[in-house]
Symmetry: C2
Subunit: 267 residues, 2 copies
């Protein structure tokens, strides 16, 4: 249990103070937070809430979306928020193709350069930029970084304390090259965060909210966890599930099931 972290997206509608209390009661020691919810409650106020409860913030989601106007200021603010919360990393979802563009290579190259411009500020505030590859089904409209290899290649020009990657089972389970790339990620000291969710079908319209709690789908979750461990990762294991049929349930009930499923299928 000491590595388990509840990513806030799993219990999206659970108010932050209730989530923090629920985690403490359940013996959870880490939470992954989301900017929208943190901003709504107040960044400093959230930082005090989790600190007073003895919880670690294991990551802040999310920065990125580098094709949107104002991405540079927005990501600097996100880094500042992560620092205030004591989060070791800011998860970056790169964004999709610019409007009307079909140039995927150019969009990916832009992500690498954009991350580079944020490196000095990330170093100043002591927060690692964590590039997250998303499943290729999000490649046009949400994240042009589709594989762990791409994420590591984009990170490679920069120091590992400033730029890492997120390994999320939901996005990478289909990729037979992922095992070698996990080893590489460990060797290059770039594993910022490990996130677990299961793959279930049929996918819903829009495909964003179709994830499953651990053990409900087909992902070799324990194999992934053992692979990141073998690569030298000793950090938190966040469970992050976006699903309407999970969100509609009481937060504490979801947390308890998530912990049980984590212990059975991931730990």
């Amino acid at each position: 249990m000491k590595r388990f972290s509840l990513n806030q997206a799993t219990t999206k509608h659970w108010p932050l103070p209730d989530l923090v209390n629920g985690c403490v009661e359940a013996g959870v020691t880490g939470v992954g937070l989301w900017r929208e919810e943190v901003q709504a409650y107040g960044v400093e106020r959230t930082a005090a809430l989790v600190r007073d409860a003895g919880l670690a913030v294991t990551s802040l989601c999310r920065g990125g979306f580098f094709q949107e106007p104002g991405w540079q200021d927005e990501n600097r603010r996100a880094l500042d928020e992560a620092a205030t919360l004591g989060a070791p990393s800011l998860v970056l979802v790169s964004g999709g193709l610019p409007p009307g563009s079909r140039d995927l290579d150019a969009a990916r190259a832009h992500v690498g350069r954009a991350v580079g411009t944020l490196v000095p500020h990330a170093q100043d505030v002591g927060v690692q930029l964590a590039i997250e590859p998303l499943h290729p089904m999000f490649g046009s409209d949400r994240c042009v970084v589709s594989t762990l290899k791409q994420a590591l290649d984009l990170a490679s020009p920069y120091p590992s304390e400033a730029v890492g990657v997120v390994i999320d089972t939901y996005h990478l389970w289909w990729d037979d090259t992922v095992w070698d790339q996990i080893t590489r990620a460990g060797r290059e000291n770039r594993i910022s965060c490990f996130q677990a969710a299961d793959w279930v079908t049929p996918l819903p319209a829009g495909v964003l909210l179709g994830r499953g709690l651990p053990g409900t789908g087909c992902v070799e979750l324990r194999r992934f966890r053992e692979a990141v461990d073998a690569a030298g990762y000793t950090g938190p294991v966040e469970v992050e599930v976006f699903a309407e049929n999970v969100w509609s349930r009481p937060g504490r009930e979801v947390l308890d099931e998530t912990i049980q499923r984590y212990l059975t299928h991931v730990a």
Copy 2:
């Protein structure tokens, strides 16, 4: 226009005789056919219909689904049908994970062995088995072969006249390794068929029927066509679009738009 082929899936509800007449009227010389529709009309009868109209059958969709009981007999029948139709290749969609399984590596290895068992019959009837990688979003329930590299690796133990691959833009557009693999596919003489469809979002529920006609989405279609040409491919270019909003329109109207879009965005 001489390489253009209408895959029947694009005009799913167009009765076969009307489709054949429409193609002849529009100057189309090739069609890709589907087993269900061919069987409903009669295999020999379909063969006569297209032959008398002077149309080439550019591929037969589909065999595969190697996790289903009876796959071996079913695929032998599919090869026989392809031979009767004069189709040079049988498109193989591998099928997903066996029920309850999470072992993707084993499922992929099984596909390679299953294809191998069909090689003698494919050689006997003179039809190439064409392994089609599908987008990773289909990886669990429809096709465990997700990349062109995987398809080529699975094909590699067998002679290229017996086992090739299908290159479909819809499934492969997101993969930055695809360009090198297209070159490899040409070098290894394994490009059975080239299919074009565009990627449009948001994806519908179930994600099967969300494709776009050429030019409606974000795929670098001409880059793909030029890449297969540069790899030495001189065969047909099938346009294959599964989409409710295309199927609901009159077949001839769809064909005319498809030809125009092919000329503008692919040829």
